[in-house]
């Protein structure tokens, strides 16, 4: 190495030049679409609009420094904080149910006789191909009395259901999310199950372990990393809940404009024309998501090094 310093520097210079050529197009757009919006949101969240003229009704408006008053406003807004609480409650119930469901299906498929596995796997994964909006429109029809055959069947069985009522609508949304993403999470878990060496099961079987014991004591512990990942990402997804409540809103009186944090920020910007407060709410949303992301990074910290060039 020491023998040819000049040549090395040339190679290095050439290497850096080529690398920047490959990297720059992506980095420029990354800067525009990821870094700049964050900076701009922070900036906007610190300003407010002041009207001049008599009674503050004049045509002249100007932006003035607001400090943290937009954040204070957002955090004092009962509807916004209630939306955060609602979304956390949603996650605390929906995520465990969905992950347990996905785990159950993954284990069942792993144990099922081979012939039908392909059909079932595809059937469970199919809803992932239905966009959130379409899924919400679809389930919306299945919730609304008058159209829904489910409501009709329940009524004729003497059961008075109201999927869109005050207490129920959050769980009706949870059902849409569960329907869409259980199969996806199941595939993640199946992939991890397949990565487990088969000899392990052979050995357990020879030792006389039952199918249930193998699932409980071997498979479940081994898919723990995938379970942690699907859980954390579901939590970040839950914070972003938007399409489902937005689509169901016209059908249910129980969904207000601040039903989820994302819906609150959207309405603040486009209905109330309050982009500074909307920016503050978006920053708060990203902040909470970041706290969760860092939790995730700590959980799988050592994994980040995998990309090291060989």
């Amino acid at each position: 190495m020491r023998g040819a310093p000049r040549r090395l520097t040339r190679t290095e210079a050439r290497s850096a030049r080529a690398a920047s050529g490959f990297l720059l197009p992506f980095l420029a757009l990354f800067l525009l679409c990821f870094i700049a919006p964050i900076g701009y949101a922070l900036y906007e969240s610190l300003l407010k609009v002041e009207r001049t003229g008599p009674l503050g009704l004049g045509g002249e408006t100007k932006q003035v420094w607001a400090g943290l008053s937009n954040y204070a406003h957002a955090l004092e807004d009962d509807r916004f904080t209630a939306g955060f609480g609602r979304v956390l409650l949603f996650g605390a119930v929906q995520i465990p149910v969905m992950i347990a469901f996905a785990t159950g299906l993954a284990l069942l498929l792993d144990a099922a006789s081979a012939r039908w596995v392909g059909f079932f796997r595809t059937a469970f994964f199919l809803p992932y191909g239905v966009p959130g909006v379409i899924a919400s429109i679809l389930w919306g029809f299945l919730y609304v009395p008058g159209i829904s055959p489910l409501v009709e069947m329940a009524h004729s069985a003497g059961w008075d259901v109201d999927f869109l009522g005050r207490g129920a609508v959050l769980w009706s949304i949870a059902n849409i999310v569960t329907w869409q993403f259980t199969g996806y999470n199941m595939l993640v878990l199946i992939a991890q199950l397949k990565a487990v060496p088969g000899e392990l099961y052979e050995a357990a079987r020879i030792d006389g372990a039952s199918a249930w014991q193998v699932a409980r004591h071997i498979k479940l512990p081994l898919i723990r990393p995938a379970l942690v990942l699907t859980t954390v990402f579901s939590l970040i997804g839950t914070l972003q809940l938007f399409a489902e409540p937005k689509v169901l809103k016209p059908l249910s009186n129980s969904i207000d404009s601040g039903y989820t944090p994302n819906l609150a920020a959207y309405n603040e910007a486009f209905t109330s024309n309050n982009q500074h407060i909307a920016a503050a709410e978006a920053v708060l949303l990203a902040l909470v998501a970041c706290v969760l992301s860092f939790g995730f990074l700590r959980l799988v910290g050592q994994r980040g090094k995998d990309g090291e060039s060989g």
Binding site: L126, F141, G183, R205, F233
Partner: protein, 334 residues
């Protein structure tokens, strides 16, 4: 929801850390029989399926398993079935007849009306969606490939720092970015144009992440050195050798980004006000919103939803295969 969950696929991509073979076999849809013996969990049971009675699980177990799977399949397929049935009904039948059974079906007639309503705006939305997702995913794949390749195959100062910032981008929720991005884009006059949806769609931090891992494992340094000695330029080496060797990862990135853009709702909703620029999801919600005043729009919404789901259903079949291939490929280096 979609955004974060798409990421799951991404970051989980290097999760399994196991042998690629068995997953591959199953992923092709050939079923476990096709996998090499002993390579897959449940090998005992597979042998039982081939007729070795000794290890066969009790009949009772198999019946319970099959029933549970069937109940789950009913849950996942019923809404899809309802959609198929309902797309053949008129608006009044939609309300007046039992939802889980056909009534006076006129599928082609109603679908024709969906396609021609309002000067064929539906077709336009569909084309917009295809354009956003197709062009966006293609550009995203190329940009990710180049960036991932650079991060894997060149040593330069700041490399790890750049990579870590991009990784952090994977974890930022897309909808938290969309609103500030709108404010920014309207400032520079890009809001309510095709570019407003296209530009953010071509940035895929996960794509860079996957491409870097894959390029590090699949593109040998010695091959690049040999090409350099032969006098090939860096761009030529990348386009002839790099891209070819990275093809499987590129297919995964393309398919993921395609589905991600196709399903994205928040970004176009925020960015677009001109309905001529809408992707299909946005168009359908606008129909749904007007249906109170124009009841026939209920029928068009249902029929339009049915048509829009068809191509993605086909893509799901393909994606399921590549998706699992992608999982094991990501794990090559793990």
């Amino acid at each position: 929801m979609t955004e974060a969950n798409d990421l799951t696929g991404g970051v989980v991509a290097d999760e399994p850390g196991g042998p690629g073979e068995p997953t591959d076999g199953a992923a092709r849809g050939r079923g476990p029989e096709a996998a090499p013996p002993g390579a897959r969990p449940g090998a005992g049971r597979r042998r039982a399926a081939k007729g070795r009675a000794g290890l066969e699980p009790p009949l009772r177990h198999r019946i319970i398993t099959a029933s549970l799977l069937t109940v789950a399949a009913l849950y996942f397929l019923t809404p899809v079935y309802w959609l198929v049935v309902s797309s053949t009904k008129s608006s009044s039948d939609l309300f007046g007849t039992f939802g889980f059974w056909f009534h006076d079906p006129h599928p082609l007639d109603y679908l024709h009306r969906v396609l021609t309503y309002d000067d064929g705006i539906y077709v336009r939305w569909f084309a917009n969606s295809l354009m956003y997702a197709g062009v966006g995913a293609l550009a995203a794949t190329l940009l990710s490939a180049a960036a991932g390749y650079a991060l894997a195959k060149y040593r330069f100062p700041g490399r790890e720092g750049i990579f870590n910032v991009i990784l952090a981008g994977v974890l930022i929720p897309g909808t938290a970015l969309a609103l500030p991005l709108y404010l920014l884009f309207s400032e520079i006059g890009l809001a309510n144009t095709y570019w407003a949806v296209l530009i953010p769609s071509v940035v895929s931090p996960f794509g860079v992440y996957l491409c870097r891992i894959y390029a590090a494992a699949a593109v040998p340094d010695s091959l690049l050195e040999a090409a350099r000695i032969d006098g090939a330029g860096e761009a030529r080496i990348f386009s002839t050798l790099g891209l070819r060797l990275m093809t499987p990862a590129l297919v995964t990135v393309f398919l993921f980004q395609f589905v991600h853009i196709w399903n994205n709702f928040f970004l176009p909703l925020v960015m677009l006000s001109d309905s001529d620029l809408y992707p299909i999801q946005l168009g359908l919600t606008s129909w749904q919103g007007y249906a109170d005043r124009q009841p026939e729009l209920y029928q068009y919404t249902v029929g339009g939803a049915f048509l829009s789901v068809l191509p993605l259903m086909v893509l799901m079949g393909v994606l399921q295969r590549y998706w699992r291939t992608g999982l094991t490929e990501g794990s090559v280096k793990a």
